[in-house]
Symmetry: C2
Subunit: 251 residues, 2 copies
Amino acid sequence: QEIQKSIENRLKGVKYKVAIMSGKGGVGKSFVTANLAFALAFKGKKVAVLDADFYGPSIPKMMGTEGQRVFATDQGLMPVVGPLGVKIVSVDFMLPDDTTPVIWRGPMLSNAMLELLENVNWGELDYLLIDLPPGTGDAPLTVAQMIPNITGAIIVTIPSEVSQKVVMKSINFAKRLNIPILGIVENMSGFTCPCDGKTYPIFGSGGGKKIAQEAGVDFLGSIPLDPRISECNDKGLPFFIEYPESPAAKS
Amino acid sequence: QEIQKSIENRLKGVKYKVAIMSGKGGVGKSFVTANLAFALAFKGKKVAVLDADFYGPSIPKMMGTEGQRVFATDQGLMPVVGPLGVKIVSVDFMLPDDTTPVIWRGPMLSNAMLELLENVNWGELDYLLIDLPPGTGDAPLTVAQMIPNITGAIIVTIPSEVSQKVVMKSINFAKRLNIPILGIVENMSGFTCPCDGKTYPIFGSGGGKKIAQEAGVDFLGSIPLDPRISECNDKGLPFFIEYPESPAAKS
Ligand SMILES: Nc1ncnc2c1ncn2[C@@H]1O[C@H](COP(=O)(O)OP(=O)(O)O)[C@@H](O)[C@H]1O
Ligand SMILES: Nc1ncnc2c1ncn2[C@@H]1O[C@H](COP(=O)(O)OP(=O)(O)O)[C@@H](O)[C@H]1O
Ligand SMILES: [Zn+2]
């Protein structure tokens, strides 16, 4: 197809393409994507982030680039450049304002996604991180079917059993579409109270390891529930943590 | 249209139709829906729940009805009956097993939703609660456009600023589609540590009230982060809480 060729052309300078997915919303996919991007950029890598969640984009705010715009030039659509030189593309950079709902049905969403993939000028990159929305519908399908040679997917979950069920669906989705699974990151593993240093497993515990075993994939590590994480995300600042960011960053 | 008529016919015995939405995933929509249904049934009301999240259904597990089936009879599709007599319909009751991903694009999803709305025999009900998926795409649109006279929507959020942005989109979605907003419930407001009784605002604080003011709607109350809630949800047991469930239950 014509479209496939022009997408390949736009992505030919990208070494690794990694999707961050979960199936379940609110588990921390955007937080993990933003901090992975910051951590890789901090090590001197050339990194970009594609916020593929058109209905609920959180990347612009988490990466300190709220209200910026993507401009069209004769070289194509130029990404916004955030902290540490990370290039970012999100639908929020193309809307009148960021409280405007994107009320699109599947076909319109897929077309908008294809427009982006065909026209964004990413340049030379070591990593393109793709923050996928919850679910296994149009956006993940278009990404999986139209982006050539995806290096792999990092699956994010929280410990609860309710979330595991839905996360297993997205693992089976990745397997069906031949996307290699790089591993599982468990987020919001427990809150360590400053008053006594005790850890309270608010969403339960062990869910991430269990899924990794069931699905036969690596467990990349866990990230605690930490008020400073939520605060950094709200302020758009990188939160470097000694948790799986290092194993996840190696992938 | 033909379809609209048969949906109206199926819903003519339902007094109140309430959508529980948020735009953002993982804020506790399914938890609020399940407990609202249990609380209303506990007061003797006839209640049903439609799990409109086809990609990530959590209602069956939270309401203790995992693995059950919906059967077709000459009267139509008969809902599963859960604890306290609550009737439940979810796509998980129609899949081979609940880790099978629903890999459908928009049009297929909308058709499946219409099939359900046309064929489920709800019978006489006081309340039909509709648990909407995250986003403002095919599922919320089909519900908003095809279900006649929706009583209103309850919006669920967590306190973080990142979530508020996305929740505002779903409020604007409801306003555009003329769905009255019954109010805002803030969930995961803070964790009260048993060791010292101090409350830690893990996801920040005040987000729910702020959105209620900005959008000019009622603030129905807040629910704390509580490990017992996550546990009850994983076990499919009703967790009666003295928080906004009472004001929300009145709506
Ligand atoms: N480990 C954590 N500790 C505290 N807050 C977190 C953590 N991970 C994510 N958050 C917060 O939880 C909310 C949901 O995270 P987000 O990355 O938007 O999830 P998703 O992209 O899966 O929907 C955000 O407000 C974010 O700041
Ligand atoms: N107040 C709360 N305290 C502790 N856990 C909660 C609370 N509300 C929801 N949960 C848990 O958080 C996860 C997400 O909730 P869920 O209702 O599935 O969200 P949504 O339907 O918005 O995606 C589930 O594991 C649920 O058990
Ligand atoms: Zn404590």
